[in-house]
Symmetry: C2
């Protein structure tokens, strides 16, 4: 419906689509995935049947029409419509499927509640914006595949999903469960041990986090792993990948992307994912305040490692410690933008590598113990390897994050490929039972090549490129905040008989068991 | 390692790979995903360190060497090796990871048990055959994506997995379960209602069948759905897709593929997936036998619809009823081939469309009731639509199967797009509760376009193209017969505490509960 132009005038055409709009049996606008076309309904007696069919068909019914492409009369052309120079004079019309009254109109400007959109997702998908987002996603992913598969000889290998961690899936063996993994991390490392030295996958991953806004229990990542590669090698590959797949209409992106250490990011922006589209950096003003006689400031500066920092806000001023300042910086940006100052250009795309993360963090609940900052397979920074055995808390890692306009869109690392080092990290530093990962430790002993990789969060990336307000706008069938599919009503109750082959039964919380009894 | 040729002679190179073979400190063969290269170890005193490093490194260790590409001396060239004209004289060598003694050697000719291969899948993947299979799979899938996405404007849209049927996944809401779907069937139909008129996805699907040989609990399909399309349109698309993605080394395939009705297939081959690479068809010899005075033959022929059929076997003869004859035909082929007669050319690829399936089948346990031959969304054959309301058992469907060399590699149908017809099939013919599919029935009322689709079983297809004995040879990390991952030991026991957030507990069978108690 969106492809006819002046060049087609005089041609006989058949169009199938949805009735977007119909006016008093005079004309209608037909819509399909390609766009809109204006249809002129014949008014003569010979075509009274055609007129009746189209007049009676409710809006959003599916029709097939045949007719002749004609030029619109002078003054009636619509330059804002790609097919605005032509219209189709109908000869025959057939209703392929009639439409009942819809719960909402298919018009982008009509506000619908999130719950209604999710319940009738198949109608929501008819909106111009959703169709645009999903088309953009399909095209960009295809370009990524071309870049990785054709230009870089990566092997697209599916890892298997029923395996690792998180969501549990009961099996037919009593007491045994599969799990839906958060990522194919272990499998991709084992592929490297298997000598499949360049792997990528557009991988479906699962994360059971309960209800977090703008997160999905299932999500998609571009997952990459390579052997015989270093951090710079992976960074250059990703820059090339994004440059190659970037949509033309968003303008070119410049590579290499700038890089910043974790320590710098925290000091200057109060976050490990700085939005570098605007300044308002954090400035260390301790020296200025050291000589000032304000009690609480003096107290702060005179403590060991005590500092006073400030951010410089156009037409304003604040001071405090770094994470709070980081949040304040973003709040300030919101405030200033609400007053009409444009700080964050929505057409600008600022990529940033954040590097040199700490390998371990002190546990919040017990600061004497360490936990992995990312995951236990991350390799230590080459300059800090010896510290691993003496002062592990000071070791930097070979982890890298990719940040776009203040959102983390990817992360990866060079992995540990030495079994002894991996066992030391698991057993001695993290106090975990290495037997749980015995197959991985075993694999590292079998000639595991040095390797590393990265995963890009596809949903978030496409969301930013499309300028969509939520990742739910770039996913065809997303789940609600609470992980519910409001259309098919999943998750749903099932009968004890259906659970029987899996050897499980529901452990009802006391209150509900009581309610069920009554 | 597989890329160096005579043209590179004189160049300095760095190679990383696995030691495939090492001989008395004189030379070794280095292997990576690209192939093999012969490495000459220097024997002079100045390089004694290099010699020691390479001499001490166990087979399958990972090494990095630098050296000069040289021509092999006359008489020592190996024409069977792509790099057989050259060798690399090493200057420096470094062991990147040493390898322990492996549970089996990485040589294709060494027989390993299936269980051992699965337990050490990362070693099994190093074999030439597995690397070849996975490379073939990656390349063929990429060609398919190019064909669908670039040449045919299909949108690659991910449907979401936590939704429909089969494997159950407990959620954090007491008593509510997600399911892992067997296929994205409903979602792709809803995409059509959503106006995304050309969809494809390389979809991961799940099937919980317990233990069936050569089936996997998770499998991959090329999933396609289109609006405003008929059976022929989908068949031509699939033929083009296979032709475009077919590997050069398997020779060209001819389109259109031949087509055969379900009735013909059953009558002539005794199966709905005939291997048409060889004859031995079933012949109806009832007329010959009608006048023959053999009691049991007379009994058979004189019953209503009674027939006597036979197959003609070179150097042999049998007779019987059709499904048995179909099996006998394959058994006969096995027997004749074991005696040296080649009936089924392993280099021939015979595609066949099987069409005009019955829409419903009589239930085995209760022949008075009907069940869907495929699924309840399949549309009736246009010539049989009126029969649907009078004699549903006689209605043919718009389902089509694609058969390759006697294996079903795909199937699809034109779907019902009329809500009334869909409700009639569910409620009146199949006696199912239409409320369970109320969201789909609701969607069909909202201007659902005529639509249809198909799914190709990717694992089976690649298996046939690769000539692999099992689909496990074209999947990186398959599960065993019993659905076990022998490497990571999934499915595995988990603690009651881990089950708590999901409000389930294990219902141990009596015997095991007793054993646990003691």
């Amino acid at each position: 419906c969106g492809e006819l132009r002046s060049a087609h005038v005089g041609q006989e055409v058949t169009l199938c689509g949805w009735i977007q709009y119909q006016r008093q049996g005079l004309f209608l606008v037909l819509r399909d995935f390609q766009g809109l076309t204006q249809i002129i309904i014949p008014q003569d007696e010979a075509h009274s049947h055609v007129k009746k069919v189209l007049y009676d068909a409710p809006v959003e019914s599916v029709v097939r029409v045949t007719g002749t492409v004609t030029s619109r009369p002078p003054g009636q052309k619509n330059p804002r419509m790609p097919t605005g120079d032509i219209e189709v004079k109908v000869k025959t019309a057939e209703v392929l499927n009639s439409c009942k009254k819809l719960p909402f109109e298919i018009k982008d400007f009509i506000k619908k509640s999130e719950a209604l959109r999710m319940q009738y997702r198949y109608l929501d998908l008819r909106s111009f914006q959703m169709q645009h987002n999903l088309r953009l996603r399909s095209q960009m992913v295809m370009k990524m595949r071309e870049y990785l598969c054709n230009l870089h000889g990566k092997r697209n290998i599916s890892s298997e999903y029923l395996g690792a961690k998180e969501f549990v899936v009961p099996s037919r063996e009593p007491g045994r469960f599969y799990c839906l993994p958060q990522s194919p991390q272990q499998f991709k490392q084992l592929l490297m041990v298997g000598g499949l030295d360049r792997y990528f996958q557009v991988a479906r991953c699962y994360r059971d986090e309960g209800s977090k806004p703008d997160r999905q229990p299932e999500f998609t990542q571009i997952d990459i792993e390579m052997s015989f590669v270093d951090q710079a090698g992976i960074q250059r590959l990703i820059e090339g990948l994004l440059q190659y797949s970037w949509p033309n209409e968003r303008g070119p992106i410049t590579t290499p992307f700038p890089s910043m250490s974790y320590a710098e990011a925290l000091a200057e922006y109060g976050t490990d994912k700085p939005d570098t589209r605007f300044g308002i950096k954090i400035i260390d003003v301790s020296d200025v305040f050291r000589s000032v006689e304000i009690g609480f400031v003096q107290n702060a500066v005179n403590k060991p490692q005590g500092t006073v920092k400030a951010i410089c806000i156009p037409q304003g001023a604040v001071s405090g410690v770094c994470l709070v300042l980081g949040n304040m910086r973003l709040e300030t940006a919101n405030l200033l933008e609400s007053r009409g100052l444009v700080l964050r250009d929505p057409t600008a795309f600022h990529f940033l590598w954040v590097v040199d993360f700490p390998l371990f963090l002190h546990k919040e609940e017990n600061p004497a113990e360490l936990e992995s900052a990312h995951h236990p397979f991350t390799a230590p920074h080459p300059s800090d390897t010896s510290l691993l055995y003496s002062e592990p808390a000071k070791v930097r890692s070979q982890h890298y994050d990719l940040v776009l306009n203040g959102s983390e869109i990817g992360g990866g690392s060079i992995r540990i490929h030495n079994a002894e080092q991996q066992r030391f990290v698991l057993e001695t530093v993290l106090k975990e039972d290495p037997e749980l990962l015995s197959h991985l430790l075993e694999a590292l002993k079998c000639g595991a090549p040095p390797h590393g990789g990265i995963a890009l969060g596809l949903d978030r990336l496409i969301c930013l490129v499309a300028g969509a307000p939520s990742i739910r706008d770039v996913i065809a069938f997303p789940k609600s905040f609470k992980g519910r599919d409001l259309m098919s009503n999943a998750p749903d109750y099932i009968t004890p008989e259906e659970l029987e082959p899996y050897h499980i039964q529901v452990a009802w919380p006391a209150a509900e068991a009581e309610a069920n009894k009554n």
